[in-house]
């Protein structure tokens, strides 16, 4: 078997574009899923029972079903049921964001609940509003506590973006699988794909580990 690595170099532009799309998807998804997770967490902690239940149902649905199903659902069901026609990119982004929001909401909820009630009481006793207490006292403390978990989610998300290749978004997996089909150079193309994922993913994973070690809430 002769290996032809030139084929990888030949298609370098498409690999670069694919990798850029993967990073763009990761960053955009997180940018939506952090506020999304916060809103869901807030709804889940609502004192209004029906709101809390609806949010819980949403979170449990997205946590307990496969991401690929959710992406297909967004791609096929959303346009038909809600007459909502989005671009492939937007569809993929919606699918990923809803999923990661659900996971983030659990992370945030745990972080917020881990701040003891005395802290809120101390803020309230000073005459601060509920929002001031939440944004200036609870959230900053919760944020440092959830940062490691958020970093782990980030690394998973980076790899999970590969699932949107199924709806023809030209990210790294889609591009690689296409090139494979066009060139029949399975080994070279898939190896290149693995190397690129690893080169991008490894520093992120290391950064997440570093955050894990670095962030300790001192009390």
């Amino acid at each position: 078997m002769t290996l032809d690595w030139a084929v990888v170099w030949e298609h370098r532009d498409r690999f670069v574009d694919g990798a850029a799309m993967t990073l763009l998807l990761t960053v955009s998804t997180m940018a939506l899923a952090v506020p999304g997770g916060l809103i869901l967490a807030a709804l889940r902690m609502s004192s209004i029972k029906s709101v809390e239940r609806a949010a819980t149902a949403f979170v449990e649905f997205f946590r307990a079903t496969p991401l690929i199903l959710q992406i297909y659902w967004a791609f096929y069901v959303l346009p038909v049921t809600f007459n909502l026609r989005l671009s492939e990119f937007a569809t993929g982004l919606v699918g990923l964001s809803l999923n990661v929001s659900a996971f983030n909401s659990e992370t945030f909820r745990a972080g917020i609940l881990s701040i003891r009630k005395g802290q809120s009481n101390a803020g309230l006793a000073l005459g601060m509003s509920n929002w001031q207490v939440f944004s200036r006292i609870v959230l900053p403390q919760a944020a440092t506590r959830v940062l490691p978990a958020l970093a782990s989610t980030w690394v998973s998300l980076f790899k999970d973006t590969s699932l949107v290749s199924t709806i023809a978004i030209a990210e790294l997996s889609y591009v690689s699988l296409q090139l494979r089909a066009q060139t029949f150079r399975y080994l070279e193309i898939l190896t290149a794909m693995a190397v690129i994922y690893w080169l991008l993913g490894y520093p992120q994973a290391k950064l997440a580990d570093w955050i894990h070690r670095k962030v300790k809430v001192e009390e």
Partner: protein, 287 residues
């Protein structure tokens, strides 16, 4: 310093008795599920008075304190603070709370903020002071509790006693009419209890109105103007310290005091120039 509060043991009139009470509990009840934490309790605090709430753990003292500034709802009766009913929908609790400082058993300093910022946060956010004004005011208060050198330390770097003094400064920064202390020394090492009690004693001498939930019987006897005894969610007795400590009329009060090892009934009268360190009977455990 003006010593508004000369000790007048044996005098029959309570301090500020001629004025309207600053804080008044009237037949206040409070339930936690089926458990009745407060059973129609009534007591009041006059302006410039130091009132200590004593009694066994779980007897409702701390719950009563949290009802005073609306951190807890009540299920019956009413709590009045300078003529305003605390637990009414139309009451602006935020305004009210600015006039009542609160100090907690576990200090509850904000761990992500420096000592100075712990104090200045509410000044900027609630009092709408500029950052410079708030910083200057916070520094003044840190100086008052003798911790100006710790201004830029985070709470984790401070001892328990230092943290509690910062917490007292934080509450004082809002210039409250009333200070609520919820077992302020129960979580402290014995050697740092004295420094916190001294700050409180100084406040009392300056004429601050204070409600103190405490297990420090020595402090209660020496500094309080009035004692309210709690047991099983009820106020079982109240009176002047000398009466409570030396001649309690309710057997359960005597039992409680004996249980804490309060045998020292003939202790000499407190003198204000006594060296610092109000050591005495400490119940070691918090709750």
């Amino acid at each position: 310093m003006i010593f508004k509060r000369a000790k007048r043991q044996g005098e029959q009139r309570r301090i500020g008795e001629d004025k309207e009470p600053l804080l008044a509990f009237e037949r206040v009840s409070k339930f936690y599920g089926p458990l009745q934490a407060l059973k129609e309790i009534s007591f009041h605090i006059n302006p410039s008075e130091v009132v200590c709430l004593i009694g066994p753990s779980g007897s409702g003292k701390s719950t009563a304190l949290r009802c005073a500034n609306g951190l807890e709802n009540i299920d019956g009766g009413k709590v009045g603070f300078s003529g305003i009913e605390v637990h009414q929908a139309k009451t602006d609790l935020r305004k009210l709370r600015q006039r009542m400082g609160m100090v907690f058993q576990n200090f509850e300093l904000f761990p992500h903020l420096t000592a100075l910022r712990n104090i200045s946060l509410a000044l900027t956010m609630v009092r709408k002071m500029t950052k410079e004004e708030a910083t200057a005011r916070s520094a003044e208060l840190l100086e008052k509790v003798d911790l100006l050198d710790k201004a830029h330390q985070y709470p984790a770097a401070l001892s328990g006693g230092q943290q509690q003094r910062v917490a007292i400064a934080r509450a004082l920064a809002m210039e409250p009419d009333l200070m609520l202390f919820d077992e302020p020394t129960s979580a402290l090492d014995p050697e740092t209890i004295g420094e916190v009690l001294n700050v409180m004693k100084k406040l009392a001498e300056e004429g601050m109105t204070m409600v103190v939930v405490t297990h420090e019987m020595d402090f209660a006897k020496r500094v309080a103007d009035w004692i309210v005894v709690f047991d099983e969610g009820k106020v079982i007795e109240q009176g002047f310290p000398r009466k409570i400590f030396e001649d309690a009329s309710v057997p359960r009060t005597r039992e409680f005091l004996n249980h804490l090892g309060w045998h020292d009934l003939t202790q000499p009268e407190f003198e204000s120039n006594q060296p610092s360190g109000l050591g005495g009977t400490h119940e070691g455990s918090g709750n």
